[in-house]
Assembly symmetry: C2
Amino acid sequence: MRQPLARELHDLLERGRDRQLRLAVTGLSRSGKTAFLTSLVNQLRHAGLEARLDLLPAAREGRLLGARRVSQPDLSVPRFPYDGAMAALTTDPPHWPEPTRGISELRLSIRYRPAQRGWWHGDSAQLALDLFDYPGEWLLDLPLLATDYLAWSRAVMDSAGPERQALMAEWQAAAAKLDPAAEANEAELAEIAEHYAKALRAAREAGFADLQPGRFLLPGDLEGAPVLQFFPLPGLADDRERLDALPPDSVYATLAARFRHYQQRIVKPFYRDHFRRFDRQIVLVDVLGALNAGPERFEDLAQALATLMQSFDYGKRSLLSRLFAPRIDRLAIAATKADHVTPEQHPRLTALLEALLAEPLKDLRYADVPVKALSLASIRATEVREVTQAGVRSPALRGTTLDGERVLMFPGEVPNRLPDEAFWARQGFAFTAFRPPQTSGAALPHIRLDAALDWLLGDKLQ
Amino acid sequence: MRQPLARELHDLLERGRDRQLRLAVTGLSRSGKTAFLTSLVNQLRHAGLEARLDLLPAAREGRLLGARRVSQPDLSVPRFPYDGAMAALTTDPPHWPEPTRGISELRLSIRYRPAQRGWWHGDSAQLALDLFDYPGEWLLDLPLLATDYLAWSRAVMDSAGPERQALMAEWQAAAAKLDPAAEANEAELAEIAEHYAKALRAAREAGFADLQPGRFLLPGDLEGAPVLQFFPLPGLADDRERLDALPPDSVYATLAARFRHYQQRIVKPFYRDHFRRFDRQIVLVDVLGALNAGPERFEDLAQALATLMQSFDYGKRSLLSRLFAPRIDRLAIAATKADHVTPEQHPRLTALLEALLAEPLKDLRYADVPVKALSLASIRATEVREVTQAGVRSPALRGTTLDGERVLMFPGEVPNRLPDEAFWARQGFAFTAFRPPQTSGAALPHIRLDAALDWLLGDKLQ
């Protein structure tokens, strides 16, 4: 039995910052957050038994003993539905888990042998890993804190391309009729706001990502609340003095008040209560999906990522640092679904991700935030084959489509820099969505999830 | 044009307490909250045009000029879906509106002529009426604040009758296997909690009302959060000292921590942020439905109402007064769906409601809270007819059942005191659910909604 003094010291060390790590996973809708978290938990749970984590030294060296789910500290945050996700992946035929809505959490207690044993560690050590999953769309709202209703109204309409504009036509026609100075009509504002939310939902369905305000897409308990019933007013003159003098029940003042409420009661609390407390973060990006969807959506993804990455720009003068003093000390950016292209394309996929994020990455490096870009597949759905055609051997993928058809295919080349007009003209890339693999209680197959794990928590398992 | 000084004084008076009234509507699930609020708004909107509000003096005297929906002050509270409810009532065939989930709000600006004009009123005056609608189940949680996990665990199992016990059997079998001192297993607790929530939902489906904790039935954004994953532990000994000494990761300590979180973060915020700010309140009770459902459910309703009414007991020593200092100055208790019995039964219905609430009403009167009991139909779905059988004329109801069948019927006699065994043996009452009436833009037909309005806001329209 451990001596009381040693036990106390041990407990003290356990409670220290190093023995607990808050790791957040985010990404825009359909970037693969649920698959990533499910596989991450699955790999760590199987770590002691089946080593498929060669890029994680603690696992390679046999020091990673296993992981157990324990009670999470934040009782009001929904638990990440790992069991439900595994159930979806292990039915016959397997299907992808339901996407999560809003923030969720899961705590793992990881047991490992330290690389160098100290007298105070006993035989093994534990790391409490708190995993968080939240919609990347919430990060798109950060810039709202740096603006006001008038500036936002004037900016929104400028940024949309022709396809986005077309989706917003119905809303715009309704909103254009409003007189900013007229007395607000509750029912009318609610109706136009619903048009606006509908346009955002349609844009997301059509593959667009740069959608503000983020909560309009997943309202949850705020469904029907006035705070989610504002929208930009088209054609506002830049005459702040006159607009600010309008009476409180005017259309302009009503919408501006709701915008401020959204800033203060929706955006700020997320950063203050959650984001500020994350230690490390991985951002997942579905680069291949955007590549498949054409130039306007690809450009839109680039814009959305530039906005999203502002949340990790800790430069001393950044909005974020001034407001919330966050403390993330390591960031990973991952292009997901790497199993949807042949392996020799993976370096190109990573290069494309870095090209897509070139500007934000420069800012991050300047601000001295350690960041790593990689490509991965959280759950590998395809197998690599070779085909010989006219005597030339080339790689191909074998997988099952969502409709259940077994196919052998070569999806095409991933450009290793931002695609130009020639690329789009060629339509050189054809993305197929695959069904998850059949699994049978073994660890889920993956590509480089272990590399991500090493970057995100390897140093804590030394 | 009004003089500047008079205008300022007028505005000052407008902002005074008397020019704003926060009226809350509650009731257990299916008591008719949505129909009540919809009809209330509808009557006030039509007040200037079609006087069906003879029991409201301001309307009878032609001083009620009308009401308009204006922006509500609480931007994070969902707006009461009046338009959706009216759409349901005016389709062909009409159907009852979807029940609301959680709290909602709607503000009306009522314009009226004061009974005695003062120089400061101008020609007409305005009253801002904030209407709130929230689940009565939330009030069933108040007693949780006065107890702790151990006492609650021991009490829950004692209070259930045989039918309730049967619904809880599956959960109880699972929970009985737990060792309070064992280390908590996250997944196991989540599973047993789901059994408990399922038993609560089944009990509600079966017509029971006294269900705690209330949020388990409408979790909203807290779906899957640990704070909604506790349950009583069967067979706990009354040995607080030993139980409190169990380690924090034990089953007992884990469940007790979630119980405390529920008290502090779920129950208290509702009372502090909403309930405390209501000026007046109406509690709706579906007495007839319970009468139809038999003795165990009727007894259960009585118990639930006794619990619910504690939230209005402002005696100096009450839990509520000590915690929140609420300020409701008028309370109405209404038996709804009075149109489902013939008119000569209405006084009996009110008498039965008073008998059902005899004990809580005594406490309220002792605490000097002005309270009025009445029976009403928010939206009258039947017409009164007379049938002659063997030369005897007797009243009957003509209506359309939910299946669309036109019927003429006499539902039976309502007992004017608590039903005894003889009543239950006779099964003297047969309740039929009716479809709402066909309406065509006119004010909704009702029974004594104007009496309720007079009690709740008549004095503010003097």
